[in-house]
Chain length 172, copies 3
């Protein structure tokens, strides 16, 4: 049923850690924002040749997922989320008459956003080999806004083996 291919093996004492936040301004609930090009650029700038990149949201009413960027499909995925976890259901988190925890001046009803987020991922971890994220041909990284138009922030960490200095010939 299966076989294994494409072995790559590296031993190194030179590690690289590269971190950057991506700041976003979302426009509406259930917005999918494609971060792929920015994450690819960060991995290139990191100089990491072999390792991992972890794309982590800093919010509890958002998600980071990997799927295909086809406009009609994005609508299908939005409908799926809204159908499984409807905005209009009864969420106690939205009951500001009884809720006392974590209330903010601009609090708005977003129980559905948290419960949609429960079913999604807060981060995507992808492998990096020879400086390239190991994407299949349709894979794209999306940030999903599950609440409303907000300023958002995504933490991107690349860790792994640094590229050898240009003057050194590699034995690989």
């Amino acid at each position: 049923m299966s076989t294994q291919i494409a072995l790559a093996e590296r031993t190194s004492t030179e590690m690289k850690f590269f971190h950057q936040d991506i700041r976003l301004w979302t426009e509406e609930g259930l917005q999918f924002i494609d971060l792929t090009d920015q994450v690819i650029e960060l991995v290139e700038r990191s100089g990491v040749q072999n390792g991992m990149v972890n794309v982590q949201t800093r919010h509890t009413t958002t998600a980071v997922i990997v799927n295909e960027h086809e406009p009609l499909l994005l609508e299908d995925m939005k409908r799926t989320l809204a159908r499984l976890v409807p905005r209009d259901d009864d969420y106690q988190h939205n009951n500001f008459a009884i809720r006392t925890f974590n209330m903010t001046p601009d609090e708005s009803p977003n129980g559905h956003s948290h419960c949609q987020g429960l079913l999604l991922s807060s981060s995507a971890t992808l492998n990096v080999v020879d400086g390239e994220i190991q994407f299949g041909c349709w894979q794209r990284i999306f940030f999903i806004e599950l609440d409303r138009a907000r300023e958002r922030s995504v933490s991107v960490m690349v860790i792994g083996q640094a590229a050898a200095p240009a003057v050194v010939s590699f034995p690989w």
Copy 2:
């Protein structure tokens, strides 16, 4: 739509690996246990300055997720899980008359627990920069018991660049 901020870049040959299990005794099904303070403490004790922490459950009827710790919201999330994957549905895994695999002396019907777990995460991977987990202000790490009161174990691995010895001045 977006811009990038807060660059942090480190090259190091000194790596640190720190692992610890967190042991838990859960009290009931659909219990959310906040592990955030313990994970923060482990990252501090690890001495890792830049890297990642991976919080991984060792069980198939539990989950590790990141969301907000607001008591009413926790009830909303429990109801969402119980509604989407009801305990009383017909699960063949619960049919001990025909099931032969993985039967244990204390086997109890938990098909719903596994199927709820299918929709959740078995681990959460978070970025660490300058010794701090890159949490947004509402993010908390939860262990979710999906079965019944049990002894549980969570594996926490911190990997990354070690802190420099205190007497060495850093060129960053």
Copy 3:
């Protein structure tokens, strides 16, 4: 409610990066393929003693999850996915009369596969301590085919502290 056990701490300058693709030929939609033995073998071959393994699919109509390998339960999980995100729902991604993006010669209706994948994980990140993946006793890694019989590829990256050369005595 909880206590912490089993501390393991390592400092090292010798890092190892080991990557391999696992190639699969799936047979049908909603097929669960157990990759556990292959991933364990790759971790052993990597020589990594302490670190992480990330098992990442390269496709958008598949998933990588951790759950129990009990044949009746696998059927329960398939039914859960098919019930929550039915194949026969109306997906615009399947409307080839209006869709213009990402059309391929062998395009077939798989909107449900993408939307099921939205609820699942595209990778599983597991901790490695003393050369062993930190599995609980029932945990197995599954690749899930959500579309139809296809050739598939899974990227497995192991990163961490290399084993010491056999002739060197370790100070741990």
